[in-house]
Structures are given as C-alpha cells and as structure tokens.
Symmetry: C2
DNA sequence: CAGCCAGGTTAGCGACGGCTAACGCGTGCG
DNA sequence: CGCACGCGTTAGCCGTCGCTAACCTGGCTG
C-alpha cells in the first residue's frame, strides 16, 4: 500500500511511469493515448492494465509520488543551517533532474481524479507551508500572504527550467539558485516600499 | 487577413476566444469539447463553426494574438528609460490581467498545428530576444546563454501568477516586479562568480 | 414586402480512445 | 511433467468528440 520507498522493485511500473510522464509533459494528459504510452516502453496498448488500474491511476500515482518526494526532501532540509538556501537548492536540483515530472505536476493537476487531487493538494500545501515559514524566518516582517505569493513565484522561477536548457546542468543550477535567493531576499515586506514611479498607462 | 487590429468587430469571436482560453487553461486543450466552449458563451456546440474554421484554429488564433501583443508591447517599452524595469512591469501587468491567456500559452504550445506553432515560436523568439538584449545591457558581462536562461526564469516567476492570488492585484504587481528585478540584477554572469567553489553554508 | 444572409438549431457520421475479453506463452514450482 | 501465473498479445465494444448537413429565423435592404 505504502507508496514510499518500496524497497527495490525497480522496473516495469517505474519505467512506464517515466515514459508516461514524458508524454504527458509534452502533449498533455488527454493528448496521450494508452497505446502511445505502451509503445513508448516497447509493449503495446492494453498491456498497461497488467500494471495499473486505469490511465487516471497512472497520473494519480505519478503526482502523489512527486509531492511526497518533495515534501520529504523539504522536511529534511529545513533542519539544516541556512534552511532557505537548502530549500532552494533542493528544489532546483529536483527540477533539473526531473523536468518531465515538474512539468506534469504543474500542468496536469486539473486532470486528476477528485480524491487524488485532494491528496496531492494536501501534500503540496504542506510543502508550501514549509517554504512559507522558512521565508518568513529569513525575511523578518514579511506578511504571510506575501511569503506565500513569494514562494509560488520562486516555484515558477525554478520550474521554468524544462523550457530552457541553454546552459549545462551545473551552471543552470547555480543561476537558478542565485536568482531565486536574490528574489527571495528582496521581496517587499516592509510597507511603503513602493517602486512605482513607472507610468502604467495602456 | 492581417490578424492585427481588425478595426473593431468587438464581440462574438473575442467572447468565444476568452471563454475558450478560460477552459483551455483549466482543463487543457484536449480536455475541452466544442460543446463546452459553446455553452460557455450561451450558444451550443457547432454554432462555433460560424466563427472559426476548427478547434485548432481557435487555439492558433488565441496564441498568435497573445504573442503579437507581447511582442508589440515589449518593443515599445524598450525605447523608454530603464527598459528592464519597463519590460518587467509590462509583463507583470499582462500576466496579472490575463491569467488564462498566460496559462494557455505556457501549457498548450504543444497542441498547436505545425504552421501555427512555427508562427508563434517565431514571435516568442523575437520577444525573448528583446529581453536578452535588455538584460545584457543592464548586467554587463553576462553571457548570452545566461541571459536567455535568466529571461526564461523570470518569465516563469511572473507567469506563476495564475496559481497564486493571495494578494490584491497591485500588491501582487509590486511583489512580482521587485522579485523579478532582484533576480535579474543578481544573475551570475561575471566569470568566476561560482558559488560552487565553496559550499555557501552561512 | 420579398428575400438574403448572419448566425443559430438538431441530427448524425466517422474516427478514436479507454478499457475488457479471450487467448498465448514461457518460467518456476509441486 | 504439468500446471499456474505473470505478462504479453489482438479483437472489439462503447462512449465521446470534432465536424458536416440540413434546416430555421429574424432583421436589413432593394
């Protein structure tokens, strides 16, 4: 039952999930057929039903797995020194190493079954909560909604990774980490910090 | 033929496109049926074909329109003083005022017809080019690939907007603008600015 | 006031996609 | 040796979806 760390049954299911993730990321959940997923792993079509109850179940399992990994990883970084940098680095690494998963999680939450969506949402909420607390500790005086908004913004920044790929992995990691930290430490918390002298007409 | 500024045929088409954008954003292109779009604007089903050649044509028109607006807007901001801030503010405003469009553009590029995709890609490229030049001007010594990566990262940051909504519009605009500028002015460009030479643990 | 046509309706076709059914086959264990 | 079972195959059902056809209607216009 437990989805976490099933010792080492390495292959078929995981292989299928990986292929499916790639396809879902590229074409969207509804844009991918059972047969597409099958042939991506060498078998064809309905053989998938030996491993998964349904197509929805694949997406469900995929997304809950991601959320669990992120939450667990996040939880054990916040214990260390400089938790903000740790969190950023962790997320950056995950995004760079799993671009397809990140993409699917961003785009296909809406295609989940209701119970699956609730579960994933709950996990994500806890992950965000982690970030919010760490951000507020690092940037004193920041309101909670602002911290939450900042967290989402930084997720967007880091998760933009799959669409880029102009630098090699390590340079990319450094760049994203730097930018994320810079953004986070300059988020406007203190009231009166207006920067609006620009003319926003039409 | 020209898609730009067709005088003022204001309503039906645009109304349909807006509704479709909302739906595409929420469920993905393939997750939305013709009938869904129809009933979202009060008419039902195939009546849409009085206005569009096909469902693909809707997406195509939608995405090219967005890209054209962004490019045009971007082009006339880079002329002003402090073009980086102008560009950021412009993009932030657009994202905050058109969350559905932003979402669709991010997620559904892959569902475009080949010729449509080429056209959109071309427009996007020019928009990114704008950013790259402005960024390199603002951050001397920054390599072009780094600038490109930074641009995409900032798009991610700003476009994360639809998933947030914890602050009111203006606060959100300020927050995003500040974060984006902070991120952009601290992007690692100068060679040797590795943060990987030692573990940044304090 | 006739009639056109913009813009809507419903019926229905053909393709496709998810899933089930029924069957085949090799490997491990009694 | 045989049989069960994990894992794969192909055939095919059934619902849905994009789109066309055929028809209706009300307001402008000659």
């Amino acid at each position: 039952m437990s989805a976490i760390a099933e010792a080492k049954p390495p292959s078929r299911r995981e292989q299928i999930l990986a292929a499916a993730a790639e396809l879902f990321a590229r074409h969207g959940f509804h844009g991918v057929g059972i047969d597409d997923i099958g042939s991506a792993v060498g078998i064809s079509g309905p053989a998938l039903y030996r491993h998964f109850r349904s197509k929805d179940a694949m997406l469900g399992e995929m997304l809950t797995a991601i959320s669990e990994v992120l939450l667990a990883g996040g939880q054990n970084r916040v214990a260390r020194a400089d938790p903000l940098a740790e969190l950023v680095r962790f997320h950056v690494d995950f995004a760079l190493d799993n671009p397809a998963l990140i993409t699917v999680q961003e785009r296909n939450l809406g295609n989940l079954t209701d119970p699956d969506r609730r579960k994933v949402r709950a996990l994500q909420r806890r992950y965000v909560e982690l970030w919010v607390e760490v951000i507020r500790a690092a940037v004193p005086g920041l309101s909670e909604p602002s911290a939450r908004a900042a967290a989402h913004a930084v997720f967007g920044l880091i998760n933009s990774t799959p669409h880029s790929r102009h630098l090699d992995r390590d340079q990319m990691a450094d760049l994203l980490t730097r930018m994320a930290l810079a953004a986070l430490t300059d988020v406007p918390g203190s009231p009166g910090t207006a920067l609006s002298e620009s003319v926003p007409d039409e």
